[in-house]
Amino acid sequence: MAGDYFKIIRGGLNSTFQDLGRKNLYHIGLPFSGAMDKRNYLIANKLVNNNKNDAVVEFAFQGPALKYFGEKRNIVVTGNVNFKILKNDNSKYNAECYKTIKIENGDIIDILSTINSVYGYFSVNGGFKLDKVWDSFSTTIRAKVGPNNGCKLTDGQEIELNNSKLSPNKKLNFINTKIEFIRVIKGTNYDYFSEKSLKNFFAKTFKVTKLTDRMGMRLEGNRLDNIKNTNIKSEGLVKGTIQVPADGCPIILLSDHGTIGGYPKIGVVISADYDKLVQITPGSKIKFKEIQLKDAENLYKIYNMETNNILNKII
């Protein structure tokens, strides 16, 4: 390799390059994809002085271990993540999220696991040397679309970096908070469900199952009784849609969702709650709360403002 690069010692469970997502391809069957937790993605780029839509590595649960070859650079990890730095002199230490770490030739970043959360982000100053696919660095594994041939990071591969000077050291005081309720707007098939099921939908808790990934989150705990029709004509879907198949167990569609489907939609998670929704781990309980469109729009404005305030604190 000519320039600086990382050698992937361990790819991790589901480590992919992501950015803000890929637009205008729903009609051919490609979802947005992009970083699941946009706020932590944006913070990761800002802390190492990168552009807001540069590629980062998103990982789920267990992250990658990467060995660095090159001149001094800053890296950062965002999320709630347990990771270690193994220095080239064989010393090692537990590192902190939201704080840039200067790495040198031969250092290893070992991202062990996310803590009480699903996704974390790894960025490097200068950014990864990748080609955009349809104007985006996002990876959609199912369609093999994106940089790195649309694949996850794999053991042994090497990833080149863009030439860059060492960025200044930065730190952000930030704590990821959880939400008590996932707020939803009624879906287009809301009236397909029995009165009792609709009452339960907002009153009882659901459990997030292990059948959860970038495509969707399967829930269990209360079967929702469809009294009208368990199949509708296949139609477009959007992320955050809560659809209910014939078995009565809801599925929340996430960023890599299939673009067309024929299950009734009971509701849609509001945009303001998406970043926090995706971080909920399998086994956790969640509760839904109904909200009106106007309130959802305002909550998104507030959420966005908060994100900008956080980013503006990084100087």
């Binding site: 637009k23 205008n24 391809l25 729903y26 009609h27 051919i28 069957g29 490609l30 947005f32 696919v133 349809w134 959609t140 199912r142 369609a143 093999k144 679309v145 649309g150 707007i185 879906g187 287009t188 004509k233 296949s234 139609e235 477009g236 879907l237 959007v238 955050g240 849609t241 299939g258 673009t259 067309i260 489907g261 939609k265 849609v268 998670v269 509001i270 945009s271 469109l293 959802a296 729009e297 998104y300 966005n304």
Partner: protein, 225 residues
């Protein structure tokens, strides 16, 4: 022309063109799809046409449901929309190795394999939509003498290129994936090619598709296409 426009969550619009699935209603959907694509209204991030619906997603930072709904209502749909429909011929091989469900179909309809294949080959199909997985075309309408329900238990793996029937529709599996359609053959050509950056999907909504039969020994002629 749009029967009903409602919000789907806080960042999408759901346009309903009517209950039925037919070419007439779908043509209206596609007309709106193309007009909106051409018009490039502020904030729209995706257009998702299907049999009788058009779902439009937008960036909440740039617009909102009320604004965009009004813009769609005000849209001059008689504006000249470039006719982009293409006619596409797709080779299909129905050798036993690839027509996984043919025996069951023969029994169900009391017809021979060649009768069934001919009924399938004798029609031109209209592409109602593409999606679910990248590039998968939903084509119709199948001759009503060979219309079938979905498999009771879907296959865990349907091979890439498989051509399947369900109700009045036919589709082509662009990737190996789970699936419950009745498989009658396989095409050697790539229906979705991510390395073709300009046009990854061979078939787009509104296109017309015809199938022609080939033998397995001809497969090599199509490699790389």
């Amino acid at each position: 022309m749009i029967k009903n426009i409602v919000n789907l969550g806080d960042a999408a619009i759901y346009c309903d063109f009517g209950h039925d699935v037919n070419k007439e209603i779908n043509s209206k959907v596609i007309k709106y799809f193309r007009a909106l694509k051409q018009k490039n209204l502020k904030g729209i991030t995706n257009l998702s046409p299907s049999y009788n619906k058009l779902i439009i997603t937008f960036d909440l930072n740039e617009t909102c449901f009320d604004n965009l709904k009004q813009e769609i209502i005000d849209l001059n749909i008689n504006m000249k929309v470039e006719n982009q429909s293409q006619k596409i011929n797709i080779p299909i091989c129905c050798d036993d190795e690839f027509s996984l469900d043919i025996e069951r179909i023969e029994k169900k309809f009391g017809k021979s394999k060649s009768e069934i294949i001919n009924l399938f080959l004798n029609k031109n199909y209209f592409c109602y939509m593409t999606g679910f997985v990248a590039g998968m075309p939903f084509l119709g309408d199948i001759d009503n003498k060979i219309q079938l329900n979905r498999l009771k238990t879907p296959r865990v793996k349907v091979p890439k290129g498989s051509i399947g029937l369900t109700e009045q529709f036919c589709n082509i599996y662009t990737f190996e994936s789970p699936g419950g359609w009745n498989i009658i053959g396989k095409t050697p050509i790539n229906i979705f090619n991510p390395s073709n950056k300009k046009k990854p999907n061979l078939i787009s909504p509104g296109d017309e598709v015809a199938f022609y039969e080939i033998k397995k020994k001809d497969f090599t002629k199509f490699y790389g296409r």
